[in-house]
Subunit: 753 residues, 2 copies
């Protein structure tokens, strides 16, 4: 371990105080002078033409200030994945509605109650169309078309082969074929989606939105409002988590802005919990047909995969998810042949988008469950088969991914060692799952570069202007630690100004676990620039060489002669007084990676990769099928843990989220109608449901990241489901192929045997 | 005239729309969640010891959340002029009160009415002390002492001689000695002083304040609250003018912050119009004893001056005003000998501070009035005597001031030519006044440097981060024009983020007419840095040399081959995509000038100087003494007029303000009590009182300023009073030595003859 002062320390978050006391204000807390409140009218039908909308009665309601419908818009389609064939959604439906929940009109009124009341007075005449809810049925030639122009309702298909799969199967000792299914789940952020739009008389709109990416709102709001980007400013206030569900622009952002344009007043829209289920995004349910060939010793030879993603009514990140599902398998186990067919299908249902892991958790459930079945058939220990196949440092994978650092085997060893595999009691079992993940990816070309500005203050502190969006994951604190370390000052000397398209340098947002590496590298570069400027001033004062200087403990001094130096504050003061130049540092970072080939799947998506292995011990009641997780060990190769406490927080949160995905959560949709859009009927794990979690950071340092840091935000969600599923099998003998693994399914599985 | 696209154009302000529609929100408009409202209790006595304060009853009033008194403070003294001997004011009185209005306690309550009501319930026990109200009496040895430690109540004295005045008088043909008096006036900003303080649970206070200088509030709030500067953030929302009266921290800023600390909630305090008269600042009344010697041909030989400034109870900018009064006379007429004794005296009255012109308008009234008397005695035309003595380009003045550019003689000629001096009707008269002024001064060492950051946007626009405080004078628009010109883009491509101590680079504020030159130079340097970065990218693309490129009309191209180039937007996009570097420009400016010597008065205070000459034609009713200004011509050497319309706005506003100073305005104070603290009894000129004003920009370009620009903000106030006073004398034969020149004084003067 290097001799760091701030990096690697278990420091409390810089926003901890204001968050626990409630001083931190979220979008929903904000009040602007003259502000109105907006509500959105949603389609009650899964598929229908809009014949007419009459807002007359609504407009007559006392307190109503404006009503907008698709006719008030330009009908411009957008999609977070900015490729022509993906643009499929108008923020307000223009011609037809495609799911129960599709936005058809919005109201601005003096309060929420009035706006809500006005929704009931808007008369919409629909012509109902036949609808399709099942992705397999949707691909039939005679199925109703969700989007007219899309053949067989196929939104996106990715299909390629590396090596020769048939050859691989031929050379295999064992070939297994299984089908797995995963379900739609919701992110359930603590803070519901909230936005305030304020169109002022200069023609400029300012939006405060709880978002993971002011950048995407900025881009898509300008596009759909048909105004120049220079007329849009997006500011992220404190944001109460996102998990992928706040990455893109949602209809409320657009409606608040347009209602503000109509009324000349700020308009706030806060989604209800029900709206989060119907009007934000879900995790893609995937039907995974998985055929795997292995040698007798367990060496994986070939994979042949057919995946059908149920995208719902619109694309959102679907095109990316379709590819990512094909990509993530490479990052775990070595393979020689690989064939994939991944298809994202439109259905008349609430639609799916990015969610923590983004295509990986579904795949890991299938791959790791099947690997355990293979191990059992071959009589190999699950840990051993994983160690045998696990990729390692220095490898170039089948798809040309280059692994510079890899702690996967360490993770497997450490997570297994933390549980007692040998002396297992009756009805208890231990299972394992592994994964690999990116440390950021470029998904917003040509704007994937990240910049940082650092301003030195006369008080000896600095302000960091960063586009990074802290949504509760703690990126502000991590960036502050990186800058403090680089400058040799204290954490409390750092002030962070973040995520305001007008003020902070370009940065696409918080997604793909990109922030620590990308924003961190950019911030470190800016800090280094500040340091260089100060070193020059100090070198002159001390009559020393710049190269001989060091910065530490709020001092800049000659290496080896700590007394020969001056305080950081005095150095800044000197920069004003003597050099007459306020010190301003700038830094940038762009991850040079290979763009993915859709034809071959070849790519090196990230500059470095993180890895994890989880082991879970569960107890299953064979009569009721009830599962209790006794202990969950999460070993994660996060490179240098900038803040081990923050890494543990991510790992523990991931385990909890994965636990819900595995055992509890499912958005039940019947003929397009969400049946459980509330936290009474949609169950997520609470703190009381949480097992003992052991977080085991594995630090395979990679100098691609700031101080050697890698991803720790999403990857840990991925191995949770298979670890628990495999443990359930060991405990009860029940192999369940479809998530969530409810007590009912366990009992059914046992009864079938 | 250079071939500029944006500079020199009559463009509307960038905030014009939002200001006329009311979209622009000022501090008073702001609402924060949970906000409380504060009111301040003031002393009813001009001079008294505070024996006891009992807030018990006030605290029991329903809705009251906190009461603070001097005992809740650290009793730390501050002053905008940060020299030890000047620090004389606690934001809440600790031991004694020194004037009627001195702040003794403050209340935070759920609304303003409750806070106001609570003030009446605070019981303060005073022991009254003898008070002194006249500055001459205050200097008597047995006068009551406003501040115990100050001998003879002298706050500050500046006294020096250059040349040999007695020798000068000996060699003079005529020596005149007169006494002039000026009065206390108030700035009367449209927006009253307003502040919101929010101390959050991290120990940090954020202040939104309508101010000319977030910097000074930042510094003095940290000092008086006894917290590190890093724990203070000051943001300037839209601000409704200042005229010098919003340069420093006022008690409401401190009280709002401390009340917020006590309550944990944001606290807003908005001063009433009455409080502006008693609790902000006034213009220093000055008694000016002026002895002048001239040769027979009107050449000025020597000045001997005794000035007594009535500072009121505290210093504020008094030390600076005391010096500036001695300094400004050099900038107009050549002289050989100069002796000055300028004394700022404490009295038990509301106190004085910076106001547009800051020591100059008082002096110009005296100097220019007397010069007309001298001209009359010598039989020389007033225009001629001014032209004879006016300084010009290239001169080094008696006090070592170096004049690089000077349009004074041009101003004199043009202002006189715009009126018909020859054929003057009965009861009408024309008079003239001249002045010279600084284009900024360094008064906040070591922090007088100014920085700017410019961020290039993917939409082809840029955001400028500047510390400059637009208080209605239009600095945001001027900086935008400078940046647009330098980058060759349009005004609408520029977004300004200004005056936030946490975000924007160091800049001390809007005072001493420093912004166009200093902030403008800094912004131009930052724009030039952006341009250089883009040129390098474009040069590579075009296979051209950087030196051969030009930027204009949103394009970067090879000089002389406009087709060989690319759009500014594409160049920025290339910087992201190819160079992977978001373009960030930085610039700074520091005016290298000579520090003033208090012993000799020698200094070169500014990098360049502006000049003006005004001519006024008035009509005086000899029976009633009523003065009507028929026309006022303001010729002003502002260097390059970045925006001629903005310069005209400054000139017209200055004439109006000077008109009030000359004819209408006076804060009447009786035994320390302000008698007319409201706009019913304190009259300022309205648009109906305004004469025809002819603004005549004289552009003596000086390359010290951005595109050759110089001051245009304060100087034009200075020659108004003497121009009108001299015109009144010509019209009616009445010479009034004391401002304001009321009808009563004119009639009295005529009756005395």
């Amino acid at each position: 371990m290097e001799n760091y002062s701030v990096v690697g320390k278990r420091l409390p978050r810089i926003d901890a105080n204001v968050k626990v006391t409630g001083d931190a204000k979220y979008t929903g807390d904000m009040i602007l002078p003259g502000m109105l409140y907006g509500k959105i009218l949603k389609s009650p039908l899964p598929h229908a033409k809009i014949i007419n909308i009459d807002a007359g009665k609504a407009l007559k309601l006392k307190g109503v200030r404006a009503v907008i419908t698709g006719k008030d818009t330009y009908g411009i389609k957008y999609c977070i994945i900015d490729i022509p064939q993906a643009l499929d959604k108008c923020p307000l439906a223009v011609d037809k509605v495609r799911y129960i929940g599709d936005e058809v009109a919005a109201v601005a009124a003096i309060d929420e109650d009035t706006a809500e009341e006005a929704l009931d007075l808007i008369e919409v005449e629909y012509e109902e169309l036949p609808a399709v809810f099942d992705p397999i049925e949707a691909m039939e030639p005679d199925a109703p078309k969700v989007h007219e122009e899309k053949e067989n309702n196929i939104a996106m298909g990715v299909s390629y082969q590396l090596g020769n799969v048939e050859e691989g199967f031929k050379n295999s000792f064992l070939v297994r074929e299984d089908e797995f299914k995963t379900q739609a789940i919701q992110h359930v952020p603590m803070e519901p989606h909230a936005t305030i739009g304020h169109f002022d008389s200069s023609g400029k709109v300012t939006v405060w939105s709880g978002t993971q990416s002011p950048y995407f709102i900025h881009r898509d709001l300008a596009r759909t409002l048909n105004i120049p980007e220079s007329k849009v400013r997006v500011i992220k206030p404190y944001t109460g988590s996102g998990f992928g569900g706040k990455t893109e622009m949602h209809s409320h952002d657009f409606c608040a802005a347009l209602l503000s344009k109509k009324t000349g007043r700020p308009v706030k829209i806060v989604y209800t919990r029900e709206e989060l289920f119907t009007n934000t995004r879900l995790r893609h349910p995937i039907i995974i047909g998985l055929k795997t060939g292995v040698k007798k010793d367990g060496t994986i030879m070939a994979y042949d995969i057919k995946a059908v993603l149920d995208g719902g009514a619109y694309n959102s990140t679907g095109p990316l998810a379709t590819f990512l599902f094909t990509y993530f398998p490479f990052l775990v186990y070595r393979m020689e042949h690989y064939r994939i067919n991944s298809t994202n299908v439109y259905t008349n249902k609430p639609f799916c988008g990015a969610m923590r892991g983004h295509g990986a958790p579904q795949g890991r459930f299938a791959f790791e469950s099947q690997l355990d079945m293979i191990a059992e058939e071959l009589g190999i220990d699950p840990v051993e088969i994983r160690l045998k196949n696990a990729i390692s440092e220095g490898e170039v994978l089948l798809n040309k991914t280059r692994i510079k650092s890899c702690g996967l085997k360490d993770c497997i060893k450490k997570s297994s060692e933390s549980l007692n595999w040998k002396e297992i009691e009756p009805h208890k079992g231990i299972g394992m799952g592994c994964q690999g993940f990116v440390s950021g990816a470029n998904i917003a070309p040509p704007y994937d570069a990240t910049g940082t500005i650092i301003k030195a203050h006369e008080d000896g502190g600095v302000t960091v202007l960063t586009g990074a969006s802290d949504i509760g994951q703690g990126s502000d604190s991590i960036i502050a630690q990186i800058v403090a370390e680089e400058l040799g000052i204290k954490l409390e000397d750092i002030r962070i100004i973040a995520a305001d398209t007008e003020i902070t340098p370009l940065e696409p947002g918080s997604f793909s676990s990109r922030v620590t590496l990308m924003s961190g590298n950019s911030a470190k570069a800016a800090a280094s620039d500040v340091k260089q400027q100060l070193f020059e001033i100090v070198a002159e004062k001390l009559e020393a060489n710049v190269e001989d200087l060091d910065a530490r403990d709020r001092r800049i001094f000659v290496k080896g002669s700590p007394d020969r130096g001056m305080s950081f504050k005095d150095a800044i003061t000197a920069s004003f007084g003597d050099k007459e130049m306020p010190v301003l540092g700038r830094g940038h970072y762009y991850a040079k990676v290979d763009t993915a080939s859709m034809a071959t799947g070849e790519c090196n998506m990230s500059r470095t990769y993180s890895f994890a292995s989880h082991a879970a011990e569960v107890e299953v009641d064979p009569e009721t099928g009830l599962v209790k997780i006794i202990k969950h060990s999460a070993a994660h190769d996060c490179g240098r843990a900038i803040n081990p406490m923050a890494v543990e927080g991510q790992l523990e949160g991931s385990v909890s989220m994965g636990q819900g995905f595995t055992l509890l959560e499912k958005v039940y949709i019947d003929k397009g109608q969400v049946l459980n859009p509330n936290l009474l009927e949609y169950k997520i794990p609470t703190s009381l449901d949480s097992p003992e979690i052991e977080s085991i950071p594995v630090e395979a340092i990679d100098n691609e990241g700031p101080f050697g840091a890698k991803e720790a935000g999403e990857g840990a969600t991925n191995p949770v489901a298979p670890a628990i599923a495999n443990a359930i099998y060991k405990a009860a003998g029940a192999r369940v192929y479809e998530l969530p693994i409810t007590p009912e399914k366990i009992v059914n599985s046992l009864e079938e045997q």
